[in-house]
Amino acid sequence: MSSYLSIENVSVTFQRAGVVSDVLRSISLAIEQGEYVSIIGHSGCGKSTLLNVVGGLVAPVSGGVILDRREVAGPGPERAIVFQNHSLLPWLSCYENVRLAVDKVFGRTKSRAERHDWTMHNLQLVQMTHAAAKRPGEISGGMKQRVGIARALAMEPKVLLLDEPFGALDALTRASLQEAVSEIHARVGCTILMITHDVDEAVFLSDRIVMMTNGPAAIIGEILDIVLPRPRCRVAMLEEPRFNQYRQKVLDFLYSRHAARAA
């Protein structure tokens, strides 16, 4: 095992009111440096749980996560998370939200001026410098998510964890954010693990798609390699036969072989 990020035999169970429920059963996954991996699966199958195990927010009952030859124990800025609902601190401006992370991670290694520049640089990456002084309550959902991404990028993480980062956005905003993330991935070259519900999004952005079976006790059902040249153009993709084949495969997995049970 010499992968950059390896998830090894991770099992998670939750106990609530005495009832023990198996959520993840013996999940293993190896991710290389700079890779963009998406996890897709039906709601409630345990995607967030898996991401939180990598993030260190949830401790697995067995197995573990190794990142860059170190075992993960607890959360840390080298595994920055972009949460499903942005979770910016509403009493801080966009700038201050990012700056908090920058100060914490680079407080010892960068000077004040450098930290300011680094904060602005990351806001620049997501095109949010114009709203730096605004509070999260004053900007749109898409803008909040951009700032959330900037905050995560500013930690210079070894791996960026995205939990349905575009889930709550309208289609147009989502498309433009996908392009932003894709561009940042190309520019910064970070390793990304992303959860999504959206098949097109997964195919468009990823190098590999991990498809999870339904819970309880979810496992990895199938892994699909996406061999498409980068940078990928959304319009050109529509005429790319491989793009449609990949979509078909994922859709087939999700809706024919592992259809969501009636909820």
Binding site: F83, N85, L89, L100
Partner: protein, 298 residues
């Protein structure tokens, strides 16, 4: 005052144009930005009704108690009997014979000291209790019971403990106003969104940073709810306990005037008590709104 002046100058031309058919110069349309009349209208709408009600109360009161033989003075006789007290709150002839400003400021300084201590201790305790599931479970019933004890019921204990008026008064303020602060702070900490804590955990904030950067700001609206209830109770407590403690303060003034059978002075003092209590409440509310600008908006 400037607001009222603006209201008048705005309203006048309209009244004039209605009341006479003579040629009246209409106000020039571009004289003010369009928002002003609406704003003036709002001020008018919020100032006129209370003024009307107050006038009405005064009239009814005067009719009911206007008889010189009446036991309770009407507004006009209060004005006659207590004119000095009303028009000059700042006179000082030594002893108890002072303007109401001095009495109120003595009481306010006690509230300031006692309530600051309660606020500080209440927030710290509230944070500790809110952060500990077991502490909350264990202490909550105790607090819920203690918070219903009326301020004056603490006074005998307080006097027994401290023997002197000043510390006893402070203690009564402290002990009556601390409970809502503790309880609300604890609830605020309890209700912290897990997401905010996760942000702090990912950044590996120290416990102090976690407290000052995440927990305190997130709980600010709750804390200020507690402070606002607390300051109201402090004011209740001080006025009541000064009546029994004697010496100085607005509460004592009221008691003293009662002993001298000067009902009209008492009524003037009561109006002061009400206005100051209202001002305290608004002050803390405003402070709270300022301190929790972003938090409340989300």
């Amino acid at each position: 005052m400037t607001v009222l002046a603006a209201v008048k100058s705005d309203a006048l031309p309209e009244v004039a144009s209605q009341s006479s058919a003579a040629i009246v110069k209409l106000p020039q349309p571009k004289r003010r930005p369009g928002r002003h009349p609406a704003f003036a209208g709002q001020v008018l709408a919020s100032v006129v009704p209370p003024l009307l009600v107050i006038t009405l109360i005064l009239i009814v009161w005067q009719i009911a108690c206007g008889d010189p033989a009446s036991l309770f003075p009407g507004p006009l006789s209060i004005w006659e009997q207590s004119r000095e007290l009303i028009v000059d709150p700042f006179f000082n002839r030594g002893g108890v014979d002072k303007g109401l400003f001095w009495h109120v400021s003595t009481s306010l300084s006690r509230v300031a000291i006692g309530f600051s201590m309660a606020a500080l201790a209440g927030v710290l305790l509230g944070v500790w209790i809110g952060a500990n599931k077991w502490a909350l479970r264990a202490f909550d019933p105790v607090f819920q019971v203690l918070r219903t004890v009326p301020p004056l019921a603490w006074l005998p204990i307080s006097l027994a403990l401290f023997r002197e008026a000043q510390p006893s008064a402070l203690f009564v303020i402290f002990i009556t106003s601390i409970w809502p602060v503790i309880i609300n702070t604890a609830v605020g900490i309890r209700n912290l969104p897990q997401d905010y804590l996760n942000v702090g955990r990912v950044l590996r904030l120290s416990s102090a940073e976690m407290f000052f950067r995440i927990m305190a700001p997130a709980a600010t609206p709750y804390i200020f709810t507690g402070l606002r209830i607390g300051i109201g109770m402090s004011w209740l407590a001080i006025v009541a306990s000064e009546m029994l403690l004697g010496g100085v303060g607005i509460g004592f003034f009221i008691w003293d005037q009662y002993n001298a059978s000067r009902i009209s002075d008492i009524i003037v003092a009561l109006i002061w008590v009400g206005l100051v209590g209202y001002a305290l409440d608004r002050f803390v509310a405003l402070l709270g709104r300022f301190a929790s600008r972003g938090t409340a908006a989300s």
